[in-house]
C-alpha cells in the first residue's frame, strides 16, 4: 500500500501557526506512506496537479490531504484522485485548519496535533474500501412550503421552468405578510397592486397546484423521492361550491372573532374571507368563535349561503403528494405585545404594533384606510413610533436587528402625513438602518419633506394620562428626558421565527438557530441551500428579510431546483449502512432506532430473519451501527475497523 500525504499551507492560514514542513517530515516516517510534501495552496490547479503527478510517478494508491475542513474541499480532492484513476473513497482529508491552526496559537502544540491528525487519516485511508455510487430516478415535482411573496416567486419560477409545483399554505389565502401591507418602501407603491398579479399567476398557472389552509403532516423520503402527507384543515365550507360572494360574512351574528389577517387590529366575523383579493377567495369558519361550534346552535350562514356550501361536519383530510425537492418559504412571526411590559403589555388600546397600524392605513383594512385610535375611534394627531421594540434587546432573547422596521416606520410616518396633513409624527430610534438601494434617501424624505421628528433614544415607559398616552424617553443627542403626549403609539416590534418553525425544521431534517430561523448551508456562498440535499430556503424563514431580498431568494431557490432537476438520474451516496447477513441475528433493534425508516425486516432463502437497508432511504447517520449488539450492521466508509484504527493511531505512541 502506498499512501501519499499532501500538507497545505493555506497561505498563512495553516502555515502561520503550524510547522507544515515538520508535519510532512513526520508523515514520511509513518508506515505505508510513500510520499509526503507541503504545498502553498493544495486546492489550486498546480496543487491538484501535484497530487495527480505524484499518484502516477510514485504509484500511489491512497491519498491524504491535510488542509481545511472536508466540508470545504472534500469533493475537490475526491475528483482529483478520481481523475488520476483512483476510487474517490481512497482519499481522506485531515482538518488541520478549523481544528488546529485557527483555534490554537502555540505553534509547537499545533504542529504536534497536526501530525496526529495526519497519522489518523493515514491509518484510516489504508483501511478504506472502494465504494461505488448507484443512480436513481428523480421525481421532478417540487413542494413549496408557504404562499408568501418568497414562496410565490419560487413557485412561479419553477413552474415557468416546466416543473410541476405543489404549494402548501397554512392560512386560508396566499399572499403572506406582503398582502397585509398598504404601501411598500422606498417607492410607496401599493403593495397588493404589485402582489395581486403574482397571486393570480399562482392561481392560474397550469403547473401549480395550491393547497390552502393546509399543513405538512409528515415528510418521508430523500432528495429526488419525497412522500409528503398534507393535512387539509377543515374550513367547514365546501370550497368547490363556495363562490366567495361574502353573504355569509355579512349575516354572521358573531362579530367579535379574532382577525388573524389583521393581527387583531379589529374583530371580524366567525365566518370570513380574509381580504378582497384573497386567493382562493373562499370563506372559512373559525370554530373557536362560531356559535354553531361554541353554543351548538345558530346555522345562519348555512341558511343564507346561496350554494349550500356550509358543512359543519367537515373533517380534516390527509392527502399524499410525491415530490423530488422542497422549497421552504415559511416566513416569520412578530413578537407579541405582551412581552413589552414597560409599554403596557397590551393593556392600553392606543399602543399598537406596526402591522396593526399598517392595516389601519390600508384601504381594505378594518377602517377602510382611515387612521383611528382604537380606544375611541377618533383621528389621532400626534403619533409616536418606537423602533427596536424587542429587537437588539438581549433581555428579550432577540439580540439581532429585525432588518426592515426602520424602513417601514419611515414609510408609515410619510403615509401618516398624507392621511392626516395636520398630524405630527415622532420616531424614537436607536440607529437608522437603511442600507438598501434608495433607502437612506427615503428615511431622509420622511424627516425633511414630511416633517417626522426623529429622536435618538429609547422609550422607558408609556402610561395613560386622560385620553393621551404619555411616551417618556431619553433624547441622547440633547442629553435630556423627553415626554410626548401622544394620541397613538406604534411599536416596531421584533421579527421572530414563524410559529412552529422548529417543529417544521425537524420534519424537514434541516437545522435551525437558537431563534428558530433556518440555517443555510453556507452564510455567504450557499445562502438558499440547506445541509439536507433537496431542501432549499427562501425568504424570512432564514432570517428577517424585506421584500426584494425575499423575492431574490425565491428565484434563487427555484434556480437551484431547476438545476437539480436538469438530470433525470441522481447519484446516491455509497457511504450508507450495510448488513452482514452472516452475523445479523435478526433482533431488528436497528429497525426501531433508524430515524429515517430505512431498515426493514427481510427473510433469507433459508428462512433466517435479518435486517435489510433500503439504500436510497439511508442517510448514513450511523445510529444503527451503534445500536447493533453484534456489530453486524456497518456504516460504509466509517466502519468500526476504520474508526478504531484512527483511535489506535493517536493512542499508541
Amino acid at each position: 500500500m502506498r499512501v501519499g500525504v499532501f500538507i497545505c499551507h493555506c497561505g498563512s492560514n495553516i502555515a502561520g501557526t503550524v510547522d507544515v514542513a515538520k508535519v510532512a517530515e513526520e508523515a514520511r516516517k509513518m508506515p505505508g506512506v510513500a510520499y509526503a510534501t507541503a504545498y502553498m495552496y493544495t486546492c489550486s490547479e498546480p496543487g491538484q496537479k501535484e497530487i495527480t503527478d505524484a499518484i502516477e510517478r510514485d504509484k500511489l494508491d491512497r491519498v491524504v490531504v491535510a488542509a481545511c475542513s472536508p466540508r470545504m474541499h472534500e469533493n475537490t480532492f475526491r475528483r482529483t484522485v478520481m481523475k488520476a484513476g483512483l476510487n474517490r473513497y481512497f482519499f481522506e482529508q485531515a482538518n488541520i485548519r478549523e481544528h488546529v491552526s485557527w483555534i490554537g496559537l502555540d505553534k509547537e502544540l499545533n504542529t504536534k496535533k497536526a501530525i496526529d491528525e495526519v497519522r489518523m487519516a493515514v491509518e484510516k485511508v489504508k483501511r478504506n474500501k472502494p465504494l461505488f455510487s448507484t443512480s436513481f430516478k428523480v421525481n421532478k415535482r417540487v413542494l413549496v412550503l408557504g404562499g408568501g411573496v418568497a414562496g410565490m416567486q419560487a413557485a412561479i419560477d419553477c413552474a415557468d421552468g416546466g416543473l410541476e409545483v405543489i404549494m402548501v399554505e397554512k392560512s386560508p389565502s396566499i399572499g403572506g405578510m406582503m398582502a397585509r401591507l398598504d404601501k411598500t418602501f422606498p417607492t410607496v407603491d401599493c403593495s397588493i397592486c404589485i402582489l395581486g398579479p403574482k397571486m393570480v399567476d399562482v392561481a392560474q398557472h397550469d403547473l401549480i397546484k395550491l393547497h390552502a389552509y393546509s399543513e405538512i403532516a409528515e415528510i418521508k423520503g430523500y432528495v429526488g423521492n419525497y412522500q409528503i402527507k398534507i393535512r387539509k384543515k377543515p374550513t367547514y365550507v365546501d370550497w368547490t361550491k363556495c363562490t366567495g360572494c361574502g353573504l355569509c360574512m355579512e349575516k354572521c351574528p358573531t362579530k367579535n372573532a379574532y382577525d388573524h389577517f389583521n393581527f387583531g387590529a379589529a374583530p371580524t366575523r366567525a365566518i370570513n374571507i380574509p381580504f378582497p383579493q384573497a386567493i382562493p377567495k373562499k370563506a372559512t369558519i373559525d370554530p373557536e368563535f362560531c356559535r354553531q361550534f361554541v353554543k351548538g346552535k345558530c346555522g345562519v350562514c348555512a341558511k343564507v349561503c346561496p350554494t349550500g356550501a356550509i358543512n359543519y361536519e367537515m373533517q380534516e383530510e390527509i392527502i399524499t403528494e410525491d415530490v423530488g425537492a422542497i422549497i421552504t418559504a415559511t416566513g416569520y412571526g412578530l413578537m407579541g405585545i405582551e412581552n413589552f411590559k414597560e409599554y403596557g403589555a397590551g393593556r392600553y388600546p392606543d399602543v399598537i404594533t406596526g402591522i396593526q397600524y399598517e392595516r389601519f392605513l390600508n384601504a381594505s383594512g378594518p377602517t377602510s384606510g382611515h387612521i383611528i385610535r382604537p380606544s375611541d375611534h377618533e383621528e389621532p394627531k400626534t403619533i409616536v413610533f418606537i423602533s427596536c421594540v424587542g429587537s437588539r434587546d438581549k433581555s428579550l432573547g432577540v439580540p439581532y436587528c429585525s432588518n426592515f422596521c426602520c424602513m417601514y416606520i419611515a414609510k408609515q410616518a410619510i403615509l401618516t402625513k398624507d392621511h392626516i396633513p395636520d398630524s405630527q409624527s415622532y420616531v424614537f430610534y436607536m440607529d437608522i438602518r437603511s442600507p438598501g438601494k434608495g433607502y437612506d434617501e427615503f428615511t431622509r424624505r420622511a424627516q425633511e419633506e414630511y416633517g417626522a421628528k426623529y429622536i435618538r433614544g429609547r422609550v422607558s415607559r408609556i402610561y395613560p394620562k386622560g385620553k393621551k398616552m404619555v411616551v417618556r424617553g431619553a433624547d441622547t443627542l440633547l442629553g435630556t428626558q423627553v415626554e410626548i403626549e401622544a394620541d397613538l403609539v406604534v411599536l416596531g416590534n421584533a421579527v421572530v421565527s414563524a410559529e412552529g418553525a422548529a417543529q417544521m425544521a425537524e420534519k424537514l431534517h434541516i437545522s435551525y438557530d437558537t431563534h428558530g430561523f433556518y440555517v443555510e448551508s453556507h452564510p455567504k456562498l450557499r445562502p438558499v441551500e440547506t445541509n439536507t440535499s433537496g431542501v432549499y430556503l427562501a425568504g424570512a424563514c432564514q432570517g428577517p428579510k424585506d421584500i426584494p431580498a425575499s423575492v431574490g431568494q425565491g428565484s434563487a431557490a427555484a434556480a437551484k431546483v431547476l438545476a437539480l432537476f436538469s438530470k433525470d438520474m441522481l447519484e446516491s451516496d455509497p457511504a450508507i449502512a450495510n448488513v452482514n447477513i452472516n452475523t445479523c441475528v435478526g433482533c431488528l433493534k436497528c429497525v426501531k432506532t433508524c430515524p429515517f425508516q430505512a431498515i426493514v425486516e427481510d427473510t433469507l432463502r433459508n428462512g433466517k430473519k435479518v435486517a435489510k437497508v433500503i439504500e436510497t432511504v439511508c442517510a448514513g447517520c450511523g445510529v444503527c451501527t451503534s445500536t447493533c449488539p453484534c456489530g453486524a450492521i456497518q456504516l460504509q466508509h466509517f466502519t468500526d475497523n476504520q474508526l478504531l484504527a484512527e483511535v489506535n493511531a493517536i493512542c499508541q505512541k
Binding site: P253, C298, K341, R347, Y463, P464, K465
Partner: protein, 322 residues
C-alpha cells in the same frame, strides 16, 4: 395552613419612622400563623450610606446579619424594607458570584458568612409562601369606600437578576394580595416610578416633583389611597405630602398606607393595633368597615335588582338572532 417560622430583620426604619409597618406585619403574620424571629444583636444592613462609599463595607455589614441568621439554623430571612432587602441580596449576589469578593468581605467579619441564607421581602413571603387563599380565608371585614393604588417602589422587583421576584416592569404581587384581602385595586401605571428616595435632604424640590407625579397618577387612576411596601416611599409621599402641595401648588390629601395595615384592617384588627394613628394623612374616612356578611348581603341585593333587566336584555337579543 402549616405553622411557619422565619428569621425576621425589621431594620432601622421600622424601629422609628415606620413603626406602624413593623406593628402591622407582626400582627398580620401572627394572624396567618407565621412566626417571626429576630436575630440577636442585629446591626445596620449596609444600605445607602455604606454602599455609596464601599461595596465591600456594605456587603460586610449585610453579611454580618446574614451570618447571625446562619447561626440560628435558618435558611430564609425576611425583611419588610426594600433597602435592607437589596443590601442583603446584593451581598449574597456578590459573594456567591465571586470567591475573591467573598474572601474580602469575610476578612472584615469575626464570624464568616457562608452564603447559606436567601433573603426575601415580606411581600414575597406573604404572596408566595402563605398564598392568596390563606389570606382570603382570614378576611372578616370589607372596606367599600376604599380604592387603592398599589405602589411598589423602585427596587422590590428590580434589577430582575438580583431581585428575582415578580415582574420587573409590571409587578402584580401586591395587587393580588390586596385583592385577596377584599380591597379594590386601581389600574395604576406608576407602580415603579421613583419617589425621590433619599434625596429629600439634599434635593428636596426634586423629590417633591417626583412624588407629585406618583400622587397625581394615583388620583387620576381613581384611587383614594396609595398602598406601599417601603418606609422611604411612605415617608416621601405621606410626611412630605404637605411639602409637595406647597412646592407644586397641589391639594393632595391622599393617605399612604402600608399594604400590611390594609390587610390587618380586612382581618378585623383594630386601627390602633396596626398603627393607623401614626400616618400623617389620616385614612379614617376611607377605611369605613362593614362585616363580610353585611357586604355580601348588599351585593346580593344589588345583583337581584339588576337580574330582571339583564334577563330581559338577553331574551331580546335571542329574538333578534332568530
Amino acid at each position: 395552613m402549616a405553622e411557619k417560622e422565619y428569621a425576621y430583620f425589621c431594620g432601622c426604619s421600622l424601629e422609628g419612622t415606620a413603626k406602624e409597618y413593623d406593628e402591622s406585619i407582626r400582627a398580620v403574620m401572627k394572624a396567618l400563623g407565621v412566626g417571626l424571629v429576630e436575630p440577636d444583636d442585629w446591626s445596620c444592613c449596609g444600605s445607602t450610606p455604606a454602599h455609596t462609599v464601599s461595596h465591600v463595607l456594605a456587603a460586610a455589614l449585610a453579611a454580618r446579619n446574614l451570618s447571625l441568621v446562619e447561626k440560628m439554623n435558618k435558611d430564609v430571612l425576611t425583611t419588610p424594607c426594600p433597602s435592607c432587602l437589596m443590601a442583603f441580596k446584593k451581598a449574597q449576589h456578590g459573594m456567591t458570584g465571586s470567591e475573591e469578593f467573598k474572601v474580602e468581605v469575610n476578612e472584615l467579619l469575626d464570624e464568616p458568612y457562608n452564603c447559606g441564607v436567601e433573603s426575601k421581602s415580606s411581600l414575597q413571603i406573604i404572596y408566595e409562601d402563605i398564598g392568596l387563599d390563606a389570606i382570603a380565608a382570614k378576611v372578616t371585614h370589607m372596606m367599600p369606600d376604599l380604592k387603592v393604588a398599589p405602589y411598589y417602589g423602585c427596587i422590590l422587583s428590580r434589577p430582575p437578576e438580583i431581585a428575582n421576584f415578580d415582574d420587573p416592569e409590571n409587578p402584580v404581587s401586591m395587587d393580588n394580595v390586596l385583592m385577596a384581602a377584599g380591597v379594590e385595586v386601581a389600574d395604576f401605571a406608576f407602580k415603579l416610578e421613583c419617589c425621590g428616595a433619599a434625596f429629600g435632604v439634599p434635593k428636596r424640590e426634586m423629590v417633591n416633583q417626583l412624588s407629585y407625579k406618583v400622587l397625581e397618577m394615583a388620583v387620576d387612576a381613581g384611587a383614594n389611597c396609595i398602598a406601599v411596601a417601603c418606609p422611604l416611599c411612605q415617608q416621601n409621599l405621606d410626611l412630605r405630602q404637605g411639602q409637595v402641595n406647597s412646592t407644586m401648588g397641589s391639594r393632595f390629601n391622599i393617605p399612604i398606607i402600608y399594604f400590611t395595615q390594609l390587610m390587618g384592617l380586612a382581618f378585623g384588627m383594630s386601627p390602633k393595633e396596626l398603627g393607623m394613628d401614626k400616618v400623617f394623612v389620616s385614612a379614617d374616612k376611607i377605611t369605613r368597615r362593614i362585616t363580610k356578611a353585611e357586604y355580601e348581603k348588599i351585593k346580593e341585593e344589588e345583583a337581584a335588582a339588576k337580574k330582571p333587566q339583564k334577563a330581559k336584555k338577553e331574551a331580546a337579543a335571542e329574538e333578534t338572532n332568530n
